[in-house]
Symmetry: C2
Subunit: 230 residues, 2 copies
């Protein structure tokens, strides 16, 4: 909890690095992201360099070292696990979970995180569909993603569910959705974010937004728009 600030810097560097894959993470970007001024950020960046948590220079910007990455990915992990816990176990809405998780992610207890992660059934994605790194900091394979992150027209294959849950598996079998089924997204109903699908027998299936978050798929078309849309 003392490393609050430091953790937030490392997380920000990680996040900006992911968003801006080609671009460098500069001091000004970070300052805007963290609602601080460039000199403040620069000062901290220098101290992070001294601690061996990042490398920094004008041309490449800030890049996490192995040590810095491990801290950053762990904060991301905690954040996404708490978001999932708040959403699924404590009935918070999507819009509420982020702010509370911003605080909870800094609570330093591996045992606590392990416990709630296990209660949730070791999910691979949080309620927003973002991947949850495992304990070793490894993200679930990236072309595997929740169905909820689809665009209209996408043809995809069912690869699994985001976490263990018998009720959900029963729901799927009621909808006649099984592993390796190939589905086409016919319509995304904006009212409640539910999705209308077509299965291989050309049958129409409507799946709820909640279920779509838990159902993991992969696009079948090589250049599917889903990849660029998310």
């Amino acid at each position: 909890m003392n490393s609050f600030k430091e953790e937030n810097y490392l997380k920000a560097i990680y996040q900006l690095g992911v968003i801006d894959k080609e671009n460098v993470v500069g001091a000004t970007d970070l300052a805007n992201w963290l609602a601080l001024k460039p000199p403040t950020v620069l000062e901290k960046l220098n101290s992070l360099v001294t601690k061996g948590l990042i490398n920094y220079n004008k041309t490449d910007g800030a890049i996490l070292t192995k040590k810095g990455y491990e801290i950053a990915i762990n904060i991301v992990r905690r954040h996404r696990i708490w978001e999932t816990y708040l959403y699924r176990q404590l009935n918070f809405s999507w819009s509420e979970v982020h702010e509370i998780a911003e605080q909870l992610e800094h609570v330093n207890s591996d045992k606590l995180i392990d416990k709630i992660y296990s209660i949730l059934g070791n999910p691979e994605f949080d309620p927003h569909g973002d991947p949850i790194p495992n304990k070793r900091g490894v993200l679930p394979k990236s072309d595997r993603r929740p169905l909820s992150r689809s665009v209209k027209g996408c043809k995809c294959v069912v690869l699994g569910v985001s976490h263990d849950n018998e009720a959900f598996l029963n729901y799927l079998s009621d909808l006649k959705i099984a592993l390796n089924d190939k589905l086409t997204v016919e319509q995304i109903i904006s009212y409640d974010e539910s999705i209308r699908l077509l299965n291989q027998k050309k049958e129409s299936i409507i799946i709820s937004a909640k279920a779509a978050e838990q159902l993991l798929v992969a696009c079948l078309k090589p250049n599917c728009e889903c990849k660029t849309a998310n």
Copy 2:
């Protein structure tokens, strides 16, 4: 989460005030309690005075104002609710809960606390038998206490349970313990902290440590040692 330090000072002033009812809460006491040096504490005390959260002078020491008390009791409330949640819902042991609750108590979300408090069934005491202030900061009536806080020989009357829980009520009826029963503590079994009681019919009852925490009683003897022992 920014008021981390401030919250800890106010909590400490509250706690030392409770422990040392007749004595003043001096700068040195606080420094020892918080593992800081007196000048550091004094500096902060002055700032708390400026903010109107405490009154302070050499002879009376630090005394919380209404505003300061409200913050302090709220932190105590959060701490005890989290301890209870960690113990009961996440299966942490007594010895583990305190340290984690020290961090969680500073997470600022009334909705989160309300939620877990309600999931727990609005308990009046935490796993250590400490009273949980209600939302308005009022502590449960103090002569009502968990049976677990008894000394050998104590004669007491059953007043209720610390929180709603059907399984527990069934357990009590199995043991033939009912509201307003008068019980005598015959023995506290040090091995597992379970308690051997005698009811009015001179029947011997053994109650587990866990149940003893949830069963609320009041001493019948005016000068019962329970009061001074806790």
